[in-house]
Symmetry: D2
Subunit: 237 residues, 4 copies
Amino acid sequence: MKVTVWNEFRHEKQDEEVRAVYPDGIHEAIAGFLKEAGFEAGTATLDEPEHGLTEEVLKNTDVLVWWGHMAHGEVSDAIVERVHARVLEGMGLIVLHSGHFSKIFKKLMGTSCDLKWREAGENERLWVVQPNHPIAEGIGETIELEHEEMYGEHFDIPVPDELVFVSWFKGGEVFRSGCVFNRGQGKIFYFRPGHETFPTYYHADVQRVIKNAVNYVAPTKREQPIRGNVQPLESLD
Amino acid sequence: MKVTVWNEFRHEKQDEEVRAVYPDGIHEAIAGFLKEAGFEAGTATLDEPEHGLTEEVLKNTDVLVWWGHMAHGEVSDAIVERVHARVLEGMGLIVLHSGHFSKIFKKLMGTSCDLKWREAGENERLWVVQPNHPIAEGIGETIELEHEEMYGEHFDIPVPDELVFVSWFKGGEVFRSGCVFNRGQGKIFYFRPGHETFPTYYHADVQRVIKNAVNYVAPTKREQPIRGNVQPLESLD
Amino acid sequence: MKVTVWNEFRHEKQDEEVRAVYPDGIHEAIAGFLKEAGFEAGTATLDEPEHGLTEEVLKNTDVLVWWGHMAHGEVSDAIVERVHARVLEGMGLIVLHSGHFSKIFKKLMGTSCDLKWREAGENERLWVVQPNHPIAEGIGETIELEHEEMYGEHFDIPVPDELVFVSWFKGGEVFRSGCVFNRGQGKIFYFRPGHETFPTYYHADVQRVIKNAVNYVAPTKREQPIRGNVQPLESLD
Amino acid sequence: MKVTVWNEFRHEKQDEEVRAVYPDGIHEAIAGFLKEAGFEAGTATLDEPEHGLTEEVLKNTDVLVWWGHMAHGEVSDAIVERVHARVLEGMGLIVLHSGHFSKIFKKLMGTSCDLKWREAGENERLWVVQPNHPIAEGIGETIELEHEEMYGEHFDIPVPDELVFVSWFKGGEVFRSGCVFNRGQGKIFYFRPGHETFPTYYHADVQRVIKNAVNYVAPTKREQPIRGNVQPLESLD
């Protein structure tokens, strides 16, 4: 299983507070625990040529993890098309936190993907609402995050095919925090937590969810569907 | 309830066989039975300025019906964006037959919307698979169409939020023929039948489905959701 | 549209605190605002013969509203079977609050319908998570209830066909508070609020939701599906 | 992974035509290919004490496969309750063909589970309609069965949480043939093919689907949810 962790990798360079939390970047933190779990995990970042997402890299990626925030607009449309095509072909995609506003997620959803937000460092509690879901394996009834950015409803996404987590925020909001979507041969998991100033990706339960999700959105091995003009399979007489 | 029936209106001008079936265009045939049913129904076509879909027209449209086929590529991206924004704002959208490949449908779905097809004039039987659905009101257990173009699975759409009809084709294929999708404040209904060379839109059951669908996808009257940065509703202490 | 509001009507007789809130019973409070809205609304209660749900009454009921709590076990299995058959035949069913543990709801769901609860009178905030849903028409982005019993996840129901509301509770829980389920020709809406010691059913938004839901779960007018042994519709040669 | 294959095992004893196809019973045919695939597979049949489904057996079963037809009514209600409880606790359940009318399936669905049928030995073609689904791994775009009993819509089940296969029958019907349902901690897969007089369970694709399904509905390893009366997790002041 080959995972590529993509990060725009800007906050970490520009903001000391973020660098203090993720000195090598969010992508290295995530790739690190994936490797420890036995996945073959590489990284790619915005400022590399082709954002590190060449045809070759994508062809060899089973699951792509996406973290972006301040530079969504700098991701080239051509690369977005390339990633989109690979998802429809079967590559799994895990979109994290502020990736809700990435070009690729909006293109796959067909909606604005807008939401409410507040940076107050309040606590977040993610409740498991589909307890038989493989993405929740090994997770207790909640995931407790001491400090996080708040995201609130209405989150402008299509109705998720599977809703795994719903978040409670101290300030009074709720949020659909763990959502599975099917698109073409691909599977997509959106997972809310992960503001850049908090050590969320070091949290054991958050890591467990991401590892479970990599397995869950991994490609199903089948031939690509046949489409276009076809002859009848039965007599038309 | 204000309905706008949009048609690219090219086949009818270029092809005598089609003109023989729909002398005033598919849009007039559809707008006709909608008016008879008491809806306020206007039309718009590709070759009008702004494809007939000005800001004013869309602002005053509760439900937009879309038929297109040979000229999807000529629909301007700016108009597609405008229609997309209106759907997210609440306007209902009914996409007919070959409209599966329209820019607006693909943008709302996030997938290729590709499928199998065959023009052999075989018979099609649409089975009601959600019998309590308002779009199937007044419809028997099947809709029988003597001659239609075949569309076959796999139809590359997201999993429909509601699946109302599944088609059987003599040549051996099945198809998810009546599908509801929610996007933003809007509702979308895709309905398969309606090849331009067959008198499908004169069929009483097909008309009934489209009339039911207009009512079903009509906007829900609510204020637009509030998004962006917000203050807490509860004390954070 | 004929609505029958069923209430076990025991708390109101036995407990002065409840009687102070609903002197004529919860059923009369609900039937009252439904009548004002133009629905033909009758009532039925546990201690009437056949619990007030005779064949005649059910045959003439388009939508049944159900409130029960302390006496679920006293509802006869035969009446539960009768209601179940009518739902599958098309009658709408609205299950309120503690009705989650009623025999009829558990039979229709196939699960335990168990949940977490706490009677602390904390505030509840219901968030609209499907903003285009007709049951949310006229409702703002939240419904604010000053004092309610808490119900928390995991709520052991099948995945709802439509999820309209998610509740936030001050004590830290969330709950899927407004859920639509399809069963046979019938539609079911579960709506969480309505503890007997609070004036919840006098709240304008709660009344609006219940009125919207009556319209939403009303029967779709179609013939009953044909089942059993059938002849082929096409030649088998 | 421990699989128990349950079969009522009556047709094979009473009917020579069936015995010719499944000399040791359908359960042995299914357990056979599961064992070859590396699963630990046992069997249980109606006429054993407790139908072979003792507390001990069920406790040690990860996935239960169910085939029944002529003797649904002889399955004791107590055993049905026991199986039901185990599904809610997390045991996977695969219901095959005429098992649609078993007590356990009806109890889990909450509907009549009725359908159309015809024994004419016509051909059936199952189309994959969710091509990224793990249950369809290794399957081409269709499964072709030369002779099968027909099952037709409307199939009175709740809307499936996942719809993997839709069948085409020569006689003109369609059927939702591969359906996933979530109930409690458990997952259920209904798979249509498997009439007792045809060698369906020797078909490589049918075997592949059942093997995939065993993996898919296997229990997710998590603690059971906590329910009942709970203390607040946050201050109520």
